[in-house]
């Protein structure tokens, strides 16, 4: 019994030290991690809404979005969209003008199969934007759908559909709720 207590104590002490070390590391890296995420979102916002000069973060129920303004004028919305693909969540940000016409889509994070689903976010050599996402430009976000507006990627129909369906679903929900 005595031995058991001793073992427990030693293990407990090691766990305690480990937790302390990790807590310190976490506190040190946290600002940096948050900063990285903010930068990522900011650069995505600039890409999909090049004419806007300021973005205000807002939330509407569960939807996170940014109001894109040029000077004081509201030029559109950038909405965070999450789709469920093959390997897990696909997090995107979709830029739309006030009537819901898509200005641009950026994928922030995805876990699709490399070589198949990952093509949703792959850029052809010499081009600036992923060729799959480029198709969304100028389409109405609320009704966008595979086949009609968007050509699915060969071998990755499900990932393509996940992206498209998530955009149309979130956009519909968003425009139903947002104040005009």
């Amino acid at each position: 019994m005595n031995q058991l207590v001793k073992f427990g104590l030693i293990l407990g002490v090691i766990c305690l030290i480990a937790t302390l070390v990790l807590a310190v590391t976490y506190e040190i890296t946290k600002p940096k991690i948050d900063e990285q995420m903010r930068l990522e979102v900011q650069s995505a916002l600039k890409r999909i809404m090049p004419d806007a000069d300021s973005f205000d973060a807002k939330t509407l129920d569960d939807i996170e979005y940014f109001e894109a303004r040029k000077g004081a004028e509201l030029v559109g919305y950038c909405v965070k969209v999450t789709g469920f693909g093959y390997g897990g969540y696909i997090r995107m940000i979709v830029g739309m003008d006030r009537s819901g016409i898509i200005k641009g889509v950026r994928v922030l994070e995805h876990q699709e199969t490399p070589g198949l689903g990952s093509k949703i976010n792959e850029t052809r050599p010499g081009e600036a934007e992923p060729y799959f996402l480029k198709q969304f430009k100028g389409k109405q976000a609320r009704t966008v759908s595979v086949k009609k507006d968007i050509d699915a990627i060969t071998g990755a129909t499900i990932s393509s559909r996940a992206v498209t369906d998530a955009i149309s679903k979130t956009a519909t929900e968003f425009f139903n709720k947002v104040k005009r």
């Binding site: 030693i10 293990l11 766990c15 590391t25 976490y26 991690i33 995420m37 490399p114 198949l116």
Partner: protein, 198 residues
Amino acid sequence: MRGSLSELIKGLWRENPTFRMMLGLCPTLAVSTSVANGLGMGLAATFVLAGSSAMVSTVRGVIPEKVRIPCFIVIIATFVTITELLMKAYTPLLSRALGIYVPLIVVNCIVLGRAEAFASKKGVISSTIDAIGMGLGFTWALCFISAIREILGNGTILGLQISDRFEPPLFMILAPGALLTIGLLIGLINYLASKQKA
């Protein structure tokens, strides 16, 4: 000095964790879709290996025999989490690309294997050197496999296109390609080893 040099290089070939001992294969196959990923994973694992081996060796006198494995696991998990946080902070893209395989370094048999077989018995310096050697052995093996898969499966190396003359077989970058590559490579190495002996 010569002793520590041989400890460093044994991991590179003679006791290479991937090709000779077949340890830590799960991450090897999973992340070897591109050289950049392979290199990142290899270096992350090397960091964990070196850190945890040094730590295990430092505390080896204090830890009773019976609870050593849980203690080692805690130490390894700590280093893995540090790596996870650092990667998220400084190399966010790589951390995304490697996904769940970063936390899974904890269960990489190479790390626990080195802690148990080497670091728990030897001094801090030689344990660290041994761990770095093993880590580098793992890293080059990963890069080698990734290079084969990236060249054949995607037609690129480190993201640069090699030639647009051929349509790369997608198969190589998907799961079956990984299994085939490792199977044939280990077969080839066995063959070379048997030749050497004869």
